[in-house]
């Protein structure tokens, strides 16, 4: 019962935050909405007994990433007006049509009782893979933390390589200076390399 109440409350917060991200005209409000949604998500992790991930969620996403967003927003300037008029005429009706179709399909499936896509194993065996089970398996560090670390060791290391690639790529694209006449790239700015991260 407590879980249900928490779920409803936090679900509302998450949805409200998500809507705010899309609807808010002021980007700072949007960032705040995102923070609310991420925080609500962290509460869900706690409900699923993944305390560590919840803490990480709050520290990394609600904390660091949102701060970074706000920093960039402030840096670029909050007062810049965005163009909100749609250019593609059919986009909204099409989106509404798709939404209506999905809702109708979901309604039909629920009403006719066809909504049983969950895998069953053998005959009369119990249902595998509840959301709780999946969450605990995938992200919790409880029980057998060392073994899990070795299992995900390589993906973890490779992710750092992924970040390096992204950083190197961003640097190499951003440090381009339009060439003047026949001078080689980037040599126009003088001897110092501007702001090369070390």
């Amino acid at each position: 019962m407590v879980e249900l109440i928490i779920f409803v409350l936090m679900g509302a917060v998450a949805l409200g935050g998500a809507v705010a991200v899309v609807k808010a005209r002021n980007p700072v409000y949007g960032a705040m909405g995102l923070m609310a949604a991420l925080f609500a998500l962290a509460v869900f992790y706690v409900v699923h007994l993944a305390h560590f991930v919840a803490a990480v969620q709050v520290i990394v996403y609600a904390g660091a990433v949102i701060t970074l967003f706000l920093f960039v927003i402030m840096f670029v300037g909050v007062d810049r007006a965005e163009r909100l008029t749609e250019k593609l005429a059919v986009q909204r009706p099409a989106a509404l049509a798709v939404l209506a179709g999905v809702l109708a399909l979901a309604g039909v499936l629920v009403i006719t009782g066809q909504f049983d896509w969950v895998i069953t194993v053998g005959e009369g065996a119990e249902v595998r893979g509840t959301v709780e089970e999946i969450g605990a398996n995938l992200i919790s560090v409880e029980e057998g933390g060392v073994q899990r670390a070795s299992r995900w060791l390589l993906p973890f290391e490779a992710t750092s390589l992924l970040l390096i690639v992204a950083a190197v790529g961003a640097v190499s694209l951003a440090f381009y200076r339009p060439r003047r006449k026949e001078e080689p790239d980037d040599e126009t700015a003088g001897a110092d390399r501007p702001g090369r991260p070390s």
Binding site: S150, L162, Y176
Partner: protein, 482 residues
Amino acid sequence: MIDVSYLSAAPEMMLVLGAVAVLMVDVFAKPPPRVHGWITAAAYLAAGASIVLQWQRLGAGGGGLSFGGALVLDPWAAAVRAVLLVVAVLGTLCAWEMLAGLGRRMAEGVSLVLVATAGFMLMGASVDLVMVFIALEIGSIALYVLAGIVRSSPAGDEAAMKYFLLGAFASAIFIYGGALAYAGTGATNLFDIERFLNDYLVARPAVILIGMALLVVGMGFKVTAAPFHSWAPDVYQGAPAGVVGFMAAAAKVGGFAALVHILFIGFARYQGAWSDGLAVIAALSVVLGTLLAIGQSDVRRMLAYSGVAHAGFLLTGMTAGAPAADGLLFYLATYSVMLVGAFAAVTAVSGPAGAGSSFDEYRGLGRRSPVAAAVLALTMIAMSGMPLTTGFIGKFQMFASAWDGGYEWLVIVGLAASVAAFFFYLRLVVLMYFRPGEENGRDPDAPLPLPVTIRWVLLFSAAVTLVFGIYPGPLLGLLTRV
């Protein structure tokens, strides 16, 4: 329990070390391009040596899983690495002029090539969907950047943007497929998925089948199979010439390498389902690729559509399942070398960083640059599947596998498309040798400058295409001979 065998990831480690060395040396010393060249060559040599060591380990009965089941060392993974290494060496040579022209950004460009190679190698060795995805992203992101690295041409920016958006879309589809496969089987490791599917009778496999289909679609984007090919012509046309061959070949090899593991190991149980799916995609790719290639007026777009058709031929062979692996490796190895060779000739014609190359630029190429024209003609003939070239043997392998697998209709479609494909492949050959150069403008017979790096690439790919076309034995049974 920690089972870390560094040998099973050694080639990638060497390449990444090389990439880091290039970047760090650049930070501290600002060396001339030559130094980057030496470091890159050393990294390739070290990676090659580790592949040889892997092969010896396999020959001694070693190999198997490591890193908690994320990587496998099997003949397929080792052979794919060797193919990718060759592609990377040729691609680097081809792109060298373009990379050296980047000025201060050269180190980044070189390291991106190295890391992209490492990413696709990892992709061929991964047997965990999470690891496949990360490796795919490492390789792909590096390629997105390389497509737009020149920055001075709007076409390059457009290519990079298109490649990035559609590639990200494909990755999202792939990871969604992985999530559904996990939801259905409770595992991301392909061997665990295989075990689950063998041990249990799955009554309603809809989720698993949808997941599998999404995984195939995600990889279909990477290997430019129709109808997921729409990005390829624009990207090949707009990206800097030097890097396109590497980009096309590496992505194709990596994608097929991962697809072989995913389908042949993880979903072997559902071969009946995915064979039919692959057959449909293969037929579409072969027909669409061939028909659309005929109408092109740009060599790179033509090669992109021919790449779609070749993806179709590879998928044709894949329908037969595991017995086709040998033929697949042969096709991938020889086609990627042909592709890099063809794009080396394109690089010579349109300049190291140029975008686009209309057929008109190739008029009279036979007199302007005999070597480039000869190799381009040879690769065209090989791609069309003429005997005494690797193209014939590769196609024959694919058709034979599909025929044995019971897909006779697919073989007939493929044969018909191959005949139609002669038209556009030979059109380029005719244009180069029997049509005079442009009358207006510059001297039609002015010799085309051919940088020495590109000359090597051209000669090597011609040699591979001919030698293995006449004597395919050493390469053909590689996997089974370990």
